[in-house]
């Protein structure tokens, strides 16, 4: 099964956080969020840390791929 990947590129604040939060509430154990700006990365990191989830990121070209796991 491939990891769920949420494409939040180009979505304005707070959409990336809303989508990530929904994935958490739906009970996904691990998923990725792809964003295209530093603000969205900071916001999703804050959300993940608040929910005590493991979170890290890597860059793919000009995009940022954030991995979140329980």
């Amino acid at each position: 099964m491939s990891t769920k990947r949420i494409d939040a590129r180009g979505l304005s604040c707070p959409q990336p956080v809303v989508l990530a939060n929904r994935a958490i509430e739906e009970g996904h154990n691990s998923f990725e969020v792809i964003v295209d700006n530093e603000v969205s990365r900071e916001n999703i990191f804050r959300l993940a840390k608040k929910r005590s989830l493991n979170v890290h990121f890597h860059e793919e070209g000009s995009d940022i791929v954030i991995s979140i796991a329980r």
């Binding site: 180009g10 979505l11 604040c13 939060n21």
Partner: protein, 377 residues
């Protein structure tokens, strides 16, 4: 709070945190709110209108008047603070490599959200920043405004949770991101040289009323640029502060709002600018229903557009053309609000203000319920 600045071989460290991460930290947002909370009462002390050291909505309204979009002769001045916000954020985003021209997410809708956000703010008489500053100056009517703002934002959060989304923006050509800062630079030049395009104006400059009250030009500009830089780094946003508490119980941004309130309250006490009460407050009225309802409209419009008026200016400086459209909507909205008897005055609510607020609420609800993107994965 004592903050230590230490330079090691690579990075400037502030309070033990590398600067690249400092402004994203709790301390960073508190510093940002604190700086705004200190500079606003200082600007008032230096000449800006009472409880209006900084007000993004009022100051955009004054700019609208200065260029003749409305003829309320007591509120016409090109406010350099607004110019500074955009240029500071522009410089900061260039320096920190965050300048990113982007746009194309429902611009016309954002334009109208800007118009209605301004109408709501001018029925209350202030943006969220001024609501906080009014409270810190003792104006009890601000409590109604802040309650209204929170209510509007809560309605917006419900819409967000139900899938409200204006769609994606896309990367634009480099020069796109320079247009809004260039516009601000043009306004600054017109202010400095006081250009008169025809006898008697435009440019219009108030000779009485709040529009005639202003701190020295260079101080206002410098304060604006400093705030622009710090706010761009820290992502300071008053609407986002309340929204994040309601939406995900996150208290990051609101700690900046708290810092603003406390700093402004303290400085107002020191400068003798704290006068508690409801009656006779400067540039304010006591109609509780419409103080509350005006800010419900503004709060809702801010959520739907993704930022408070200040944040929209900082985003516009970073190259966000959609935020620029929202800000232009606010300036046009100020023209409409004064030309069509929608904007309140210290005497009270204007004849058509309530009808405009209701119209705006209906518009925002329709947008919030119909602009949905069910499956973004």
């Amino acid at each position: 709070m004592l903050i230590h600045f230490v330079m090691d071989d690579k990075n400037l460290h502030i309070g033990g945190i590398p600067m690249s991460e400092f402004f994203a930290s709790r301390k960073g947002i508190i510093l940002a709110g604190g700086v705004i909370g200190i500079l606003a009462p200082l600007l008032q002390y230096l000449g800006n209108p009472p409880n209006m050291g900084i007000c993004v909505a009022c100051m955009e309204r004054d700019i609208a008047g200065a260029i003749g979009l409305h003829r309320a002769d007591v509120v016409q001045y090109i406010r350099p603070e607004i110019i500074g916000f955009v240029l500071g954020a522009f410089l900061s985003s260039l320096i920190f490599r965050e300048h990113k021209p982007r746009g194309g997410s429902a611009p016309l809708i954002r334009f109208f959200l800007g118009i209605f956000a301004m109408i709501g703010a001018l029925v209350f008489l202030g943006c969220p920043w001024r609501a906080l500053l009014r409270l810190s100056g003792g104006d009890g009517n601000a409590i109604l405004g802040i309650l209204g703002l929170t209510t509007g934002i809560t309605i917006g959060v419900i819409l967000l949770k139900n899938g409200y989304n204006l769609g994606r923006s896309y990367t634009q050509k480099t020069f796109s991101g320079w247009i809004f800062p260039a516009l601000m630079l043009g306004l600054l030049l017109m202010l400095v040289y006081r250009v008169e395009f025809s006898a008697g104006g435009p440019i219009f400059f108030s000779v009485k009323g709040p529009g005639a009250m202003h701190a020295p030009l260079w101080m206002s500009t410098a304060a604006g640029i400093l705030i622009g830089i710090i706010a761009q780094r820290s992502r300071f946003c008053t609407m986002g502060a309340i929204r994040d508490v309601v939406l995900i119980r996150d208290y990051h941004l609101i700690s900046g709002v708290g810092a603003l309130l406390i700093a402004a309250f303290g400085l107002n006490l020191i400068l003798g600018q704290f006068h508690p009460g409801f009656e006779g407050q400067p540039i304010a009225h006591t109609n509780h229903v419409w103080n509350f309802s005006g800010m419900v409209l503004s709060g809702l419009a801010f959520v739907l557009a993704g930022g408070c008026p200040g944040r929209q200016l900082f985003l516009a400086g970073e190259g966000d053309m959609d935020a620029g459209i929202f800000a232009l909507g606010m300036i046009i909205g100020a023209g409409i609000a004064h030309n069509f008897a929608l904007a309140s005055s210290p005497k009270g609510v204007a004849a058509f203000g309530p009808a405009a607020v209701i119209t705006g609420l209906i518009f925002c609800l329709i947008i919030g319920l119909t602009m949905r993107e069910k499956s973004i994965t």
